[in-house]
């Protein structure tokens, strides 16, 4: 992005991305400071910036460590315990590192009716992993997801910030090839 981030957009950056720039600390560089200020400026209470900032931690590091939580707590004047309570409530915040490509296969009802379970198992066997594991080459983590909101395009698969739709088991190898 060449233009500076518009404050109205600061709370809506994808936080599951493949091109990570892992840095342990979030707010020690201008980028982190800028994000924090812009996000906080959009709400009457600092606490409301919590979800966007958890997202920011994941956007940078791929997952959210205890250290990042404590750092966010400090920045938003919350207790680390509170931040942890919120972070563990939402399923999209990775509490452990994941592969560069987080493959979420929807197996909820409409996808279930359209081979969702089979697609999920196909991804597991193609990547040689068990659910939630990082593949040996660090590229993939495959998990089962609840409804991804693409029921008319079953089976829906989300890989980081991309959607793959109408996936059938036989399309799985091609999708993996496409993911560098």
């Amino acid at each position: 992005m060449t233009r500076p981030l518009h404050p109205a957009a600061a709370s809506a950056q994808p936080f599951q991305v493949a091109d990570l720039r892992p840095t342990e600390r979030l707010f020690e560089d201008p980028e982190g400071q800028d994000r924090l200020e812009k996000v906080v400026s959009r709400y009457p209470e600092k606490r409301a910036a919590l979800l966007p900032m958890l997202g920011y931690a994941q956007e940078r590091n791929g997952w959210i460590s205890d250290e990042n939580m404590a750092e966010i707590a400090g920045a938003l004047e919350l207790t680390p315990a509170y931040v942890r309570s919120v972070a563990t409530f939402y399923t999209m915040y990775n509490r452990h590192p994941v592969g560069r490509h987080l493959i979420q296969v929807c197996t909820c009802i409409s996808c279930h009716l359209n081979e969702g379970q089979e697609v999920f198992e196909q991804f597991l066997s193609e990547t040689g992993t068990r659910a939630g594991e990082i593949s040996e080459d660090g590229r993939y983590t495959v998990i089962e997801a609840e409804c991804l909101g693409a029921c008319g395009f079953a089976t829906a698969v989300q890989v980081n910030d991309r959607y793959f739709e109408n996936v059938t088991p036989d399309k799985v190898p091609a999708i993996l090839d496409e993911l560098d």
Binding site: M69, L78, P80, A81, V83, R84, T88
Partner: protein
Amino acid sequence: MSDAANQITLTIDGVEVSVAAGTTLLQAAEHAGVVVPHYCYHPGIPSRPAQCRMCLVEIEGQPKLQPSCVFPAGEGMVVHTTSEAAEKARQSVIEFLLLNHPLDCPICDAAGQCMLQDYAFETGQLRSRYAEAKMVLGRDRVADDILYFGDRCIVCTRCVRFMEDIAGDNALVVAQRGHKAYIDTFPGRDLDHAFRGNIVDVCPVGALVHEDFVFKARAWDMDAAPGICPGCSTGCNIEINVKENQVVRTKPRLNTEVNSYWMCDHGRRVLVMANRGVRAEAPMIRRAGELEPASWNEALAWVAEELGGSGGVAVASASVSNEALFYTRTLLNHLGIEGGTFEVEEGAEVTLAGFPKLKLRAERAPNATGAALHGYRRSEGLPEVVDGASLVVLGDALAEAPADYGANAGFFLYIGSHLPPAAGNATAILPAAAVPEMEGTFVNYEGRVQRFHRALRSPGVARPAWMFLSRLLEHLGEGTGVREIGDAFGVMAAGTEAMQGLTWGGLGLRGELLSEAGHPAVAAE
């Protein structure tokens, strides 16, 4: 009382009650003598999530059962807390709560005082229909002295909300969600708040337990007596739990004027630790240079005979009762001893954010106000004893004294429950009951006179100091001996300006404020 115009009349389980507008159905039910079972609601915690769904009641005209902990009473409302639908819902909540519960009541410290156990017995079913494997969470630590048994937890969040609403330290939270939810701290940041122990008291089940109480006593093996915490000058109302004549636990007892439902962790330890130390068990008198035991009659007669009216010094503890201080004062007057001093240990003050009147106060003794009221002077260090002069010591005032303190006194009368090394220099030792072993009163920081009750038996023949001092004074021709605490209090109140009008019975369990006249805090200004 409240304005009649703001009164609402409704019927709960056939009983008509009148309550103030804004009263919840659960509170209104209490007026009708009906207890609506509940878990997440706690009268001392302001937030009301209405999430345990245990207090659902049927209201005529309402399609759904409503949570009585938040539903406001309405004029003419007809409420049924035990209708078939309400009972069935409650039974169902119990069944849900027990699905993954380990049913480890035989080793659970809450057994016998457990709201889950009680309601399960009251409304539950004999057999669970749950055929699935139980989830196992195991045990965790939330503070250096508090354990969390996750499998017993019903996630009512009382503990979380105590920390947030009352302690003002959001350090305990619900982690995860849904059926995987549990209570936790942030890794490496256990609770260190000075009032954290209250989370154990508010826990309606056995999920949170003080580590020093684990496996120590069954609820039904303990006796309980109302007491006043001796930990500081706040005078928190407490319940003292006793097993085999040992204090095993102290818990806060409601007094909305003093401590609400809470007490601090410092206070919780004082009485439990007081089980330690060498006790004075029998009167001792020094004959031919040696201290030897004597009967009460012999000892009192001997002391009355030997004690001279030659002046001297006195030192009292600010942790003894008003009655002991008063009768000792009378004795000192008889002996021509002016003043008398007391010393109070000081510590850091900690305020409970959600009930700021409650503080762990800097003054770490329960009755400094009482000591001042009875004419003792606050000082640092012990008074110097002139060779050959009299020395009177009341209570645990010599714990830190050098071993030879008082050895040069002409007559050294030691009235106390414990025997520090310096007590060995006494001319006579009169063994006093310790505070939990007797009835009496303290005056707290704001001048509230509060009664405490007897929780323990005294060792040997130790007696309350007021009792034997009144007899000693009778020997000396001052008044008559008293045997009842009420009489002792009456004599004291009659002889103490700020206590005029107070009666033993009138103090009740809430206490009464001193009258302003003669109040040491007022007099000092």
